[in-house]
Symmetry: D2
Subunit: 440 residues, 4 copies
Amino acid sequence: MNQEAACRSIETTIKSLGRATIDSPVSGSTIFVEDHERVVIDTSLGFFKRCMETGSEPVSFELAGPRRKIYFDPSKTKCAIVTCGGLCPGINDVIRSLVLELHYAYRVENIYGVPYGLQGFIPSYGHALVELTPDAVEHIHELGGTVLGSSRGSQDIGEIVDALERLNMNIVFFIGGDGTLKAASSVAREALERGYRCAVIAIPKTIDNDIAFVSKTFGFDTAVEEARKVITCAHAEAKGAPNGIGLVKLMGRDSGFIAANAALASRDVNFVLVPEEDFDLEGPRGFLCALEKRIRTRGHAVVVVAEGAGQKFFTDMPEEKDASGNVRKHDIGVYLKERIERYFQEVALPVNLKYIDPSYTIRSVTANASDSIFCGFLAQMAVHAGMCGKTDMLIGLWNNVYVHIPTEICMQGRKKIDVGGPLWMSVREATGQPVMVNEG
Amino acid sequence: MNQEAACRSIETTIKSLGRATIDSPVSGSTIFVEDHERVVIDTSLGFFKRCMETGSEPVSFELAGPRRKIYFDPSKTKCAIVTCGGLCPGINDVIRSLVLELHYAYRVENIYGVPYGLQGFIPSYGHALVELTPDAVEHIHELGGTVLGSSRGSQDIGEIVDALERLNMNIVFFIGGDGTLKAASSVAREALERGYRCAVIAIPKTIDNDIAFVSKTFGFDTAVEEARKVITCAHAEAKGAPNGIGLVKLMGRDSGFIAANAALASRDVNFVLVPEEDFDLEGPRGFLCALEKRIRTRGHAVVVVAEGAGQKFFTDMPEEKDASGNVRKHDIGVYLKERIERYFQEVALPVNLKYIDPSYTIRSVTANASDSIFCGFLAQMAVHAGMCGKTDMLIGLWNNVYVHIPTEICMQGRKKIDVGGPLWMSVREATGQPVMVNEG
Amino acid sequence: MNQEAACRSIETTIKSLGRATIDSPVSGSTIFVEDHERVVIDTSLGFFKRCMETGSEPVSFELAGPRRKIYFDPSKTKCAIVTCGGLCPGINDVIRSLVLELHYAYRVENIYGVPYGLQGFIPSYGHALVELTPDAVEHIHELGGTVLGSSRGSQDIGEIVDALERLNMNIVFFIGGDGTLKAASSVAREALERGYRCAVIAIPKTIDNDIAFVSKTFGFDTAVEEARKVITCAHAEAKGAPNGIGLVKLMGRDSGFIAANAALASRDVNFVLVPEEDFDLEGPRGFLCALEKRIRTRGHAVVVVAEGAGQKFFTDMPEEKDASGNVRKHDIGVYLKERIERYFQEVALPVNLKYIDPSYTIRSVTANASDSIFCGFLAQMAVHAGMCGKTDMLIGLWNNVYVHIPTEICMQGRKKIDVGGPLWMSVREATGQPVMVNEG
Amino acid sequence: MNQEAACRSIETTIKSLGRATIDSPVSGSTIFVEDHERVVIDTSLGFFKRCMETGSEPVSFELAGPRRKIYFDPSKTKCAIVTCGGLCPGINDVIRSLVLELHYAYRVENIYGVPYGLQGFIPSYGHALVELTPDAVEHIHELGGTVLGSSRGSQDIGEIVDALERLNMNIVFFIGGDGTLKAASSVAREALERGYRCAVIAIPKTIDNDIAFVSKTFGFDTAVEEARKVITCAHAEAKGAPNGIGLVKLMGRDSGFIAANAALASRDVNFVLVPEEDFDLEGPRGFLCALEKRIRTRGHAVVVVAEGAGQKFFTDMPEEKDASGNVRKHDIGVYLKERIERYFQEVALPVNLKYIDPSYTIRSVTANASDSIFCGFLAQMAVHAGMCGKTDMLIGLWNNVYVHIPTEICMQGRKKIDVGGPLWMSVREATGQPVMVNEG
């Protein structure tokens, strides 16, 4: 609930290119949404009561959905779609639904794919735009990855806006993680400053599911499903050798949601190490001791570690950044592997450690049914928002409702596992793992 | 949002066996939940404002979760678990998590499975109770179905309570659909009247996902995933023959959620027929005409029908009930198959219709990762509720939060697809299907 | 081994359009096969010795593979592909590999798909040929079914050959079951008689795996994999209800290979009924009695029945044929369901029978890896055979080697389960089922 | 066919503990196999003719299957099962079927699992034997890995035989790769020399499918299926980034069968590097140049490398051995990754390489249906062989027939891909890869 607490003072008004005056071509049987329809962010009764006492209106998000009046004239609207950052199950589902919704619901005919992420806007890379039609996207949801290609790293915002203006784009859909949200927001603001009417709508993509104010990001469910399969393999490996240890590194740079959920889904995991909870390796209450105890009593163990866990062990080492400007995490998986092997050599207990780092095979599969449906809705809502001239916003799911969120507020921090909350409690129960810090 | 509207006057207080005075043995690092923590049911800002204006407190649900004080002394607590009605992915996950939570979190040692549903309580059936230990349930989540067995149909409430009293059961977990919720509620009330302290906690199970005030029921995601596979097959069959028609009947007695979601996940469906939307077969705007048009223009079609759709075609036929007392639906799948074949004979357009009725193979698979995690939480929350002496309630998920819901209010009606809302709009867009009534 | 016995006197010479004189364009590093390379059909040492004693050469098949000299000039060659009969996993893999092999290995540029089976040849149906290029087939193996469409039923051979001549086709690939093999053979002979140089190469397709002299047909492995999943569901259903019976009807018109193999793969089946083994329903040694015994002792049962089993129960009923001229089997699944239910009513033992008939969802999936590879080889071998002017033959796999088989000898009977052999012995052991005939 | 050539002078007589005189308890309807029933190894007609000319009997294998007379008295027979070496899909299927066949077909009641491979025989390790009953093994085929545990490395043969004698074991089933076959053979011979009547039957296990005179080993099909999935991911990664390269290392220490078959099954691979075909990295015809050409023309590439490929690049480095005494291969995957990255830096063409090493997740899954059935037959045949007193042999599949093979002849070399044969030709065609050596 601390997220809701944090949000009590945030600004949630959505920017707009101007008044929407054109009748929506969306089928008449649709129930249109009005801009004043909003949902309260914090749904606890206590918060409600406090608001009543103080007479203050609670912070709320604008509802997503089709509006009766739109801003752009569909027959003259030109749209671009760009996918950035690492792969994630469902990107092609989003692309496909954007195209179909624009084409069939709004009769927009000019839709272009920008190849290879933000690079695709920059002339010097020489990537040609891809025309996107319903035929071109018909089967793309059956493929993993992104048919547009992606790339990491930022590009000059001015150059991006120049490119968009030159192409006369009216709506740009950015699909990407925080670097991309930041770029999208800068693009939106730069365009507004220039007086160039371009709606910038983002659909947040992070397999780690760690975007603030977004209950769930697409691809996460599928990733957990795949991670569960890998853990089942690690368990077979662990049981298949004397003192077998299966060590699995899962995605999760700042938040351990995949690790925690995969452990719950699998029920074969004995230790889950995540960025949110501190742990020591050495010492009587440290992880290595706990692992030794497990091995001595049960003869095997499965350990799941999120890539961002235990970064404190690398504080002496120099910080590196990847092409997207993300701080590159030191490889906790390889580090743990070595530390475990060394430790058991020292205590003269021969173990068989199998290290599995499955990231690419988790993130590049096709979306499962649930994510596929979810992607469809995100895309539709994004199209509705873009067509009525909203900008500098993203589509999020909040308490089961699709909402418009100003891009800015999602960049104020990341969603993290609350280590006192029910998710982490369940992980503790399912694994039986102790708190592994020597003091505190 | 109409559901929320309906609930503004409902009673959401949970019955209790008495004051909880024993310290919870649940690990100290847990963040306990207080009974006064509640979430507002209707989260729209407009509703909030109206409450503020009138000074009325909004209707809210009690939060689920561990309480600092519990009612039953774990060392003397005896629990029973019973599974009723049709199979649904995840039942074994729920059973397993109930047992593990009772055993490891609360140190309850006496846990029994009641075989074959409500029959298992009735002496004349002669089914012996099954002892449930962590070892016994370790691998059951890898199996579909229910290891306890199930049965349909009601049993005498007095006899059930007699059996529970004789066995000295303190908490009974009912896993089942509306018939079961009704029985559970009657058992709870009968026990209260007799002064017999028995907590009755229900975990709603319906593959149709149609329980009022419950955002999602377990097994639904998995069912949609399986249904998608079947539709892919139907599509291959439809395209594989001249004028091929793939007709798939999916579950959904009163609500078409599985049909609608599977259609969205698959993207190959041309017609979805559900109980919530009226349709005619004959006539210029009827389904058969629309299907003919599709076949003549595209050469193939995929039709998905929920089992409860089109019941108006059977009004002349006598009503039948199954063992659970549910009104037995006339088989719309077989009926449509015959009507389609006859129609195309009459219009002299030879078609190849392949009819697929996959129900048993959808509901008896193991839960996917998402459902498996979900089942774990439902079970944990149910144990927390039971241990602190709540009764006549069920565990529900409302706006992403686990809550306590009085059994009664879930029986006041079913959740249905809002045919003006975004789900059905998306289905219309994805299928391109018209409204198929001749008048109105 | 009785098949080998049967074949000692068969004619296995392959017909040819004429002398192959053109140098093959296939890459020089290839090891070419000579026409005199053959493999002996019966590989038993005893047979070998008898041949030595009598000085007789054993019957053998010509090896498939690329020949150094080919008959058709690739730059002028025109090919057609037609797919007939019911769906089977892998058809699209075969089509794809035919096209790629013709295009890349032989540089053939004119390749056409004939739509909807033999209908596609007949002008009155008005189906247009489909041009097949590497691009057009690139992703088709990711789809179940056949992209060309299929149909059942025979067409006039003269009309087919007229169509081929008119189109100037040089090689025609028929993918289909026995009706199709028969048609292909007639087409080949008619063309030869007319002096029209057209190579007719068949790739046998039968999900039942029952073609004589062919060790395995494509799609069979995949079908067994799918059937295993269905049986797992039937098992969950059977265990999930008091006296639960899961009854699964699987494909197998004349041979029970899918039923037998799926039962072995699943290990949850208690009775397998196939066309090859007689069984009674009534009587002290009949199936119903055996099933009752199982239910009374174990409380549940899984029964698998091949569609062609127990046809003796229908002898009084009139014979029907489907569009392909196959005798239409009476529905043993529905019949058994009714007989079982009636029987248990009579003996007053209430059972819960769940009947599953999954055929369409088994045959329309994509090929598994093993079948996909297999389809690739069949297609390549077919192209090699066609290009060097062989005709009236099919590509078969015999003792792990790809061979040329005269179409005719495969039509002399079907491959059947040897009820004294190891496959059926294993089924008996795995199920524990008795011989279920009252006399004999 | 070179394997058959190699075998013309091999000794294929099976050793025996003595005359089998006890009537088999196997059900009377079984068709028993006689020892003189054999199948010819080389089935080519040419070979047959040469034998006829010279009057020499061709080399043949003894048929596996139940014998009318057995050697051991079932009521007094004690059996052990041991699993050695790395995991492979299907081990638990084999264990399960051995137990069920011994128990149900022969009524053997004393069956023990030896834990953790050959270690389990050696007292100093202190591993206790596991009793194996039908109940204990009922569900083990639903788990990957081996329920008995495994280990690498040899143990003292004398100590193993001591242990067996002490335990009075009559039949020992060894499931393992070449190290294990060698150990099994030594155990068998040592026991014979001591006059201790112990039948030693091996079931060859190698996921690489490279055992001489064995057409296929269990688990291979499943491994190829899993490898195909990984390649699909690598393809998505490659297409998802500018100049993306997906590099997948697959199992295959001495033979590239998994790599070759997975490439054929996937159809997305551009280069397959295997131990059987030499390739250079540098130079105008080397791999790096070919890869550059592919990247420049198509913008992405998928490379599959078998772990034993390219070992010539490591000749300067010292040889290492693993615990089983296998020469440890230098990691060609990591090496290639570095070389590729360095090369493209040098030619100033920025690429995005994603390296995937999935081994553990391929080998630890459960067996697919086809492998599961196969494992069942291997186990049954092994039991038949052991019960009639055969020893120092393994069960193999040769040309579709189960046979008895003296352990020794399988250790004379490995099965390898014939780079002039149809498998490799197909890989070349499917990938379009050139011969990548600069000279020769």
